[in-house]
Structure formats: structure tokens, C-alpha cells
Symmetry: C2
Subunit: 339 residues, 2 copies
DNA sequence: TGGCGGTTTGGTAACGGTTCCATTCTGCCG
DNA sequence: CGGCAGAATGGAACCGTTACCAAACCGCCA
């Protein structure tokens, strides 16, 4: 390891002078600066992050906790965070969820792991998170934002799209195509964002005269296998519907697989609409209609807000995010007669 | 920030004693240790990683460069690396590729970013990597492993499955089902692992009397959209085949979408076989037959080998990885008469 | 009681960088 | 030519931790 001392010695200057050239602060005569720069090049010197971190109290690193990477939802988020951080010349330290069992314990342990690592800030996402957990994290790391969850007491640190509006859009899309007999595959009952999208969905149906009790539903786990199994259960129950709303795209893809295997034509027999509009949706068979979340923008805003808090960068932060429906082949008009 | 000095002061002991209690090394009388432990608890003290890193010269962090996260191939790898690192109580710093343009420049810049961050070791993967690039990284960071590429001069640091064997298996699976008119959708021509799997594939076909020139082929980019477009091009060229080999699952999924839209039944009209056996394959419509890469094991081995190099942990490292075919609905017998 | 081995303890140096202060040097003006 | 302001420079101190050293202390045995 070459240190700045080596640089100073080789250049024949004092420690302070060498440091001033490296950091670019303070005045150094052009001739001296040139000598130092040559020494830096010759020794291939790069300043030690650890030493700088110790002195400045800032590691220039942001911790990110992200649940088990399944499907194409979370990878996109990670990617976006990295883009924003690298643009600001900061690094990302990641901790993942590991199993599906006790995700709440997992996120707490993951956050602890990251906090102890002396990150300058923390981005957390998990639908197993509670407001108390977040408060506890905040006690140890005030620079924290929550992605894809929303807690009223912490509204300014939470970044998420309007899932009630999203659920509502899904319902309206189905109703607009004449569907009346509609079934639902929901996410985990414990997941707040799942609850919100279902709330919006049922609210819109209710306004169209369809009570929630009249809507057959299965709860699942946001996974493709789960969606497949839930769809199978629905059909085995003898549910007779012309449209199926799935609370995320992964489950919708599973449902499509189930339909295909049972000989149900989508959308001729049954329309399917997903949620999130992940990259998977575009090339599903048939192409999947989905509620489009501006997840890139949401993630960007959260990351920038955190960067501003940590480093006072003054980046622009959007707080309103529009939700739309991307219509593809899996949504069609309700069949005139069913079966 | 509470420091070990605060702890020592509160406990009424010297700095060294407090440090000995924290690190657990050196002898401390039970009574004193208890006093210190109480002070630690009261002050909620955690030792500073930066200070430890500066003194020990080790940041306890491993850098990971991973290309643009698309599809379900890379996320799995990332997940596996994280599991292994956390099991060893080490952290992961990540840099992603950003765009598809000039991926080689990207990987170099990403590796530089990670090396300058003082990681203890580096895991790099990208099919745009050259042996010279790796040599250059090694000069600055001797603790380096390459995932999913293979360079002869650096064989001991490269971890990848046998893609020639994988390509061969794909061919044998098709031949075994009576297919003779076979088409191929390949990955980027510049990608060595793509070249290897195609090599194996064509070698097996050649042994069955099918020359490479007689196998219609399109090159694409490993993306779903690319696979879709390539399949369209094949069919528009009027290619008449009973089976289609795609060099990864993403492209295979795109090809399936193309088949569906053109009314081609899979596997009744045309069989499709993918490569990698990513989670996507299982619930594709129809379920996708794919060459199964033991990517979890490969990743695990690479990570452990790096951990051993960095921290002398003596973890077991596998070096041989079996490749198999996961047979699902998309592969069927060749139609007796075509069209 | 003196001496000795072993344990326990406190303080200092060191890691590599930046900041601050004191000193020297330069050029300019009176 | 003397004085002075401002630039340029070198070196010490510091960030928080651990390793090492020396000193103090304990009990034990002769």
C-alpha cells in the first residue's frame, strides 16, 4: 500500500502539501503541484477510504436492505438505486432477505447489519416492516428512507406509489371491458401494500354495485408458484369468472400458466390483469395487462432524498407519482355468455 | 457517536482494558469485564468499522461487479453471494452495469470504482470481460475471482459451469426426441460463454450428421425482447424447423411469445429448449425445458474461494459442476410430418 | 519476608489521511 | 531598502481502534 507519506517523500515535499494536491483544497504553487502529481502517478497512489472515513466520520456508503430477490420487481429497484448513487459517486452496501420465513426478523437483522457497518444512510424496503421497527432503526440511523411502504407518522421518509389508486385502476379496466364476475388473487394478508391495492380495487367494484363478498378470492405470497397454486384453487372451487385480478405480476404469470394448462383461453375465456408492470409482463403468453407503477421514479426520489439528507446535495425530489394501466393482450371484453 | 474512550471512562478503566473486553482478546478479570460490559450496554456502543479498517488494513467488504440486472439470472447470483458473505459476517459492496452499450468499458469502470473503495476482494462477472482486463484488475487487487467466464491463463480464479457440455446436452435432448430440423437463437457473438454452448451444441449435431451450415440461426442479445425479435426473424425467413434451441431462457421466453402470437403450438408444432433453467422457465407457457446450470453451486464455490483467499477461512470449494437438462412441456417428439 | 511467575492493567504508538497553525518565502508598495 | 500582506509550505494533532510494552499486583513458595 502506498500512502500519502510515500508520495510526499518522493516528491520532496511536506505531508500537508501532498495532501493539498490530492484534495485540491488550499494553495500550492504550480511547480510543486506538478511534482506531487508526478509522484502520485508513479506510485499509483489512491487515498485510503478508511482513513478518510475515520477522520471525516462519513463512509460515503449507503446501505440498502432488500427482500429476497424473486421475480423482476426488486432487481429493477436495486439497479435504479445504484445508478443514482454512482452518479453521486457514492457506494451501495447491500443486505438481502434470505428466506420467506419470518421476514420481519430478517429485515431487522439486515438493518442492524448495515447500521453497524457505519453507512451514512439507509434505504429499507420490505412489506413485513412495522412503524415501530422503523422508529427503532431511526434511533440508530437518522438518515433513513423507506421504499414501497407507507407509515403515516413517517410520511416524509416513505416513498411509494398510490396503491389504492392502482387497485382502483385495475377494477376500472376490468369493468370498462364489461366484466362483472371477477376473481382476485391477493398477496400476503400481512402486507400493507397488498391491502391497499385490494382496498382500492374493491372500492371501485363497490361503486359499480359489486360487493367484496361476491368476489371470489385467494390469498397467496406474491410468487409465481403461489399464483399458480392460487389460480388452481380458484378453478377447483368451481369459481366462474370472466376476469382475474392478481395483486402482482409474478402471481399473474403463475395464473396464466394455470389457465394454459386447464385449456382456458386468455382473454377469450378469462381476462387476467396484473400489477407492477414488471418486465416479465411484456412477454408473458399472452402479453399481460398490468397496472403500471412508476417504480423507477419512486426509487429515484427516495434515493435522492436520502442523498440530500446525507450530503446536502440539493437534488430534485419528486413526491407525486402517477399510476397507469398498460393494456396488453391478456385483457379482452367479457365473453357474452360464460361457458 | 460514542467511542471506546467513553466506555472506558464510564467503566472507570483504561483504554486497553475496554478494548480487550470488546475484542475478547487478552485477559481481563471477570469483575472488570462486567463493569465494561455494563458501560457498553448503557452507551449503546458499537466499535467503528472505519477505525478498525484503518488499523487492520481490512474493510471486511467484498466488492461485486454484476452486469445490468435483467431477467432472473443475475439476481439469483447476487442473492447467493450475499448468503455466503453474511454467513462469514462480511459485507457486499455492489456496482452494476448500467446500459447495454460498451459493456466492456462499464465493467472496467465498475471494477475500478470497487477497487478504489478498498474492498478486501472482488467478484467480477461479465461476458464482455477480456483476459487483459482481468490481469489489469489483478495488478491492483490480487484477491479476485471471475464468475461465469473462463480464461485459460487464470483458470484457478474462474468459476463457471461447462457450457460445452451444456450445449451438447441441449442438442442430445432434441435429437433424442427425433428432431432433425433444428434452429438456433444465439447470444451476442462477442460473448465467450455463448460461443462455448453453441460449440457444444453444434459438435453434438455434427456427430448426428447435421452440419452447422444446415442449422438456421439468429444472433441476439440474451434479452427477452431480443429473443422475441430473433424468433420473428427466423420465421419470417421461412425457416422450417421442428425444434428451437435458445442460448438462454430469457430469449426462449421471447421465442415462446413469438410462437404464441404466430399460432405455432409448442411443442406440437415446434419444441423449444432454453438454457440456464432460471426460475422463469418453470412457469413459462408452456413450461420451458432448459439446460440446468448449477449456478448456485458455482457462485457458492467462487465466493468461498475468495473468502478463503481474503480471510483464510478454509471453506470447502467445489470445482466440478454437473450440467443437466430439466425437461418440461416445451419439449416434445418431432412431428411426424411438418406442416 | 523476599523473590518470582503470571495475571491484570493503563498508557502510548500506530494505521493514513486532513486540518490547522506557525513559519518561511515572495512580491509589492511606501 | 524596510515593512507588510498574502501565498506557500512543513509539521503536529487528531479521528477511533488495537497491539504492544511496562508497570503494578496477586499469590505462592522458599
Amino acid at each position: 500500500m502506498t500512502t500519502i507519506r510515500d508520495v510526499a517523500r518522493l516528491a520532496g515535499v511536506g505531508l500537508g502539501t501532498a495532501s493539498r494536491v490530492v484534495s485540491g483544497k488550499g494553495s500550492v504553487s504550480p511547480a510543486t503541484a506538478e511534482k506531487v502529481r508526478r509522484a502520485i502517478a508513479e506510485l499509483d497512489f489512491t487515498p485510503s477510504h478508511s482513513a478518510r472515513a475515520l477522520l471525516s466520520g462519513s463512509t460515503q456508503m449507503i446501505g440498502v436492505y432488500i427482500p429476497l430477490l424473486k421475480g423482476s420487481f426488486y432487481p429493477n429497484i436495486l439497479q435504479t438505486i445504484d445508478s443514482e448513487l454512482r452518479a453521486a459517486d457514492r457506494h451501495m452496501v447491500v443486505a438481502f432477505g434470505r428466506e420467506a420465513t419470518d421476514t420481519r426478523a430478517e429485515v431487522c437483522e439486515g438493518a442492524r447489519f448495515l447500521i453497524e457497518r457505519d453507512c451514512d444512510g439507509l434505504i429499507v424496503m420490505s412489506n413485513a416492516l412495522t412503524a415501530e421497527d422503523v422508529q427503532e432503526f431511526l434511533r440508530r440511523q437518522p438518515n433513513l428512507v423507506v421504499l414501497n411502504s407507507s407509515f403515516e407518522a413517517l410520511a416524509d421518509r416513505c416513498f411509494t406509489a398510490d396503491h389504492r389508486a392502482g387497485g382502483r385502476l385495475a377494477a376500472e379496466a376490468l369493468l370498462g371491458h364489461g366484466h362483472q364476475r371477477i376473481a382476485v388473487i391477493g398477496g400476503p394478508a400481512t402486507s400493507p401494500d397488498n391491502a391497499e391495492r385490494l382496498e382500492g380495487f374493491h372500492a371501485a367494484l363497490r361503486e359499480a354495485g359489486i360487493a367484496a363478498e361476491g368476489v371470489p378470492s385467494e390469498a397467496s405470497d406474491f410468487s409465481t408458484a403461489g399464483g399458480y397454486a392460487a389460480a388452481c384453487r380458484l378453478f377447483e372451487r368451481g369459481v366462474d369468472c370472466t376476469a382475474l385480478f392478481c395483486a402482482n405480476d409474478e402471481m399473474a404469470v403463475g395464473a396464466l400458466a394455470c389457465c394454459a394448462e386447464r385449456g382456458l383461453r386468455v382473454p377469450a375465456d378469462v381476462s387476467v390483469i396484473g400489477y407492477d408492470d414488471t418486465p416479465t409482463a411484456e412477454f408473458a403468453v399472452p402479453r399481460l395487462t398490468s397496472v403500471h407503477m412508476p417504480i423507477r421514479e419512486v426509487t429515484q426520489a427516495a434515493t435522492r432524498m436520502l442523498l440530500n439528507r446525507c450530503y446536502d446535495l440539493g437534488l430534485g425530489v419528486e413526491r407525486q407519482f402517477g399510476v397507469t394501466v398498460t393494456v396488453r393482450a391478456s385483457l379482452g371484453p367479457a365473453p357474452a355468455m360464460h361457458r
